[in-house]
Symmetry: C2
Subunit: 426 residues, 2 copies
Amino acid sequence: MITIDATHDPALKSWVPGADGHPDFPIQNLPYGIFSLGADGEKRPAVAIGDKLLDLSAISGLLPVELRGPTLNALLALPAERRLALRRKLSELLSNENHRPALEPHLHDRSAVTMHLPAAIGDYTDFYVGIHHANNIGRQFRPDNPLLPNYKYVPIGYHGRASSIRPSGVPLVRPKGQRKPPEADAPVVGPSARLDYELELGVWIGRGNDLGEPIPIAEAADHIAGFCLLNDWSARDFQAWEYQPLGPFLAKNFQSTISPWVVTAEALAPFRIAQPARPEGDPKPLPYLWDEDDQAAGALGVELEVQLLTAKMREQGLPPHRLSKGPASNMYWTVAQIVAHHASNGCNLQPGDLLGTGTISAPTDDGFGSLMEISRGGTRPVTLPTGEERSFLQDGDEILLSATARAEGYVPIGFGECRAVVLPAR
Amino acid sequence: MITIDATHDPALKSWVPGADGHPDFPIQNLPYGIFSLGADGEKRPAVAIGDKLLDLSAISGLLPVELRGPTLNALLALPAERRLALRRKLSELLSNENHRPALEPHLHDRSAVTMHLPAAIGDYTDFYVGIHHANNIGRQFRPDNPLLPNYKYVPIGYHGRASSIRPSGVPLVRPKGQRKPPEADAPVVGPSARLDYELELGVWIGRGNDLGEPIPIAEAADHIAGFCLLNDWSARDFQAWEYQPLGPFLAKNFQSTISPWVVTAEALAPFRIAQPARPEGDPKPLPYLWDEDDQAAGALGVELEVQLLTAKMREQGLPPHRLSKGPASNMYWTVAQIVAHHASNGCNLQPGDLLGTGTISAPTDDGFGSLMEISRGGTRPVTLPTGEERSFLQDGDEILLSATARAEGYVPIGFGECRAVVLPAR
């Protein structure tokens, strides 16, 4: 089990200037990432602290785990107790002033480095556990019956594209593709006219399982190394035309954006909360998806937010405009349940695999996780402070996702940046 | 363009005993693979010739391309002209008796080695281009309207699971999962009762494209390095319950089996045939999917076959029983079209990615590519020579896929073995 220890102590301070009180990366967080000095520099592992990062490859001798190379896959694959030992050591190194002379030369300003994907992602799977999202989208297609009969039994998921996942900051080129206007006899090809974002959490798989060997729900937490933010960009017009009968394909595989820091399961220990009770009358999960401990502490006390910055807002020096805000606990299934389900048929998960939760929407407008929901399928545009309207994204729009974990008596920790700007189609 | 040259000369002979007249691997084929001596031995690249293979890492000095390491990804990524130079050199080495003393020590019996996956598969995508299969399956769900409106415009595809792809010979453990019996109120969990195979061709991607940069249809062939056989094992009961609205997931990701040899696009040059004409009244492909040269020579003159060997047949010493046989040209879209479509929104393909065609069925019973079709959804079981009946696969059943390319005036070449036996659920 993941435990709360001295590394979470709210009284703990860091000698790194600006780390204490940092909204994302105080010493209680200690997320891992891969950086380089310059876009083409050598890729190296790091831990974020305040507005700095510490180059872990340079202080290898001080750590209980050797960290080198261009990905974190080996770190993610470590047994939980070794990851915990690493966290405790880093907590000590960054809090005890005695280590400052040895470590300070290996601190870099985060604003001055290039961040990369934290892992080589073998497979990427996206789920659909945001029940309010599923209801909102389902209602647009089937007003009387938004949720399909399997939804409350099966953690619905599908395989996504690993190669096109990019870290925060890499611009998105508006995709071209087929769409069929309702009034037309045949589809047309062109830039997506209904480009959307989707607010999701990403789950980094740690230890894998062998092919043919399911992961019992009670062990699922041991396979979860950490979390990130995930923007599952979606071309709604392509999706509507292509998705029957095999699901989304070109509507979603042109790019997905993630925050580059792995916020560890260890760091999130104080922020675990009970899974929200299922509504009266909903079926109890099948035995392979049911675990009392997971129900008691399998959800995350994390607040999610989406902001939009248009080109005009940038010109006028305006701050980003909040599109939605809501808790991550609006998930019908826990992350342990999606991991156990994924492996229940023997499918092998591997260290560095990424799972998306699916869009997490709150029940009300101010917490909807996509423009498709906010604008009611494009029929009710949002008005921005500039007077601009948005049903879907325009070229030059930038989407910023953020997340903060909060719990009474603990220092809040954040997930860092997950942003990307939309460039015109080529 | 892929050209026919002296390496395809039907008069060309090899000094390797048994290579001439070999049904799969005469000197005109020269497919690449990864082998080891013993299951845990070092993985090395090889070329197959008759019942032997030649260890390419051992003769590196003789080749125009350095080949080492546990995967063929670097070889697949080579520009077509460098792959062609390698093929020509190997053809000369294995035909000219002068090279025999130098090479013979590096030949191994294929029956004595372990074959591995030929490449590290970054992403695996499965298509649905077998129009008779789409009709057959569609008819079981929608008798009056088997093909959905998008089928003749969109090469339908979806992302599959890369981690669970295994080479020929690795047994398949029957998966467990949720299924909902029609008469039941709720799903039950247990071993799949409707386990099926699917006969497909696999397409190995060679050179990749950058994210955001589509592959024009006229250049698609340059990105296709070779082909294999692919058995897309499917749990039909899981599939029926889970697949709405996001497509197949646990019904298909528990294992896929491929033949371990990459039959190159170069080797298949003489076997290219015209894409079958679309039925009268079908729409012309959209411009990004239309290329005259591809229509003229974008299909493959390959015959596909499926055989079944049950435990009882094995006990009685009976040979495998043929379930179906038919031409690979029963594809509504060419492989160039599926590559161009996949990248049309900017999705980046990478060397070693694998595309499946989807099940290739002929129009008649004797060419159906799955038991779901042959048994009409389980209502018309097949009777085997032992008197056994099969609607779906039983434990102990082995499925064997094979393929042979044939063309008037050329030596036929085959794809090698793609087989796996079904083990009981754990």
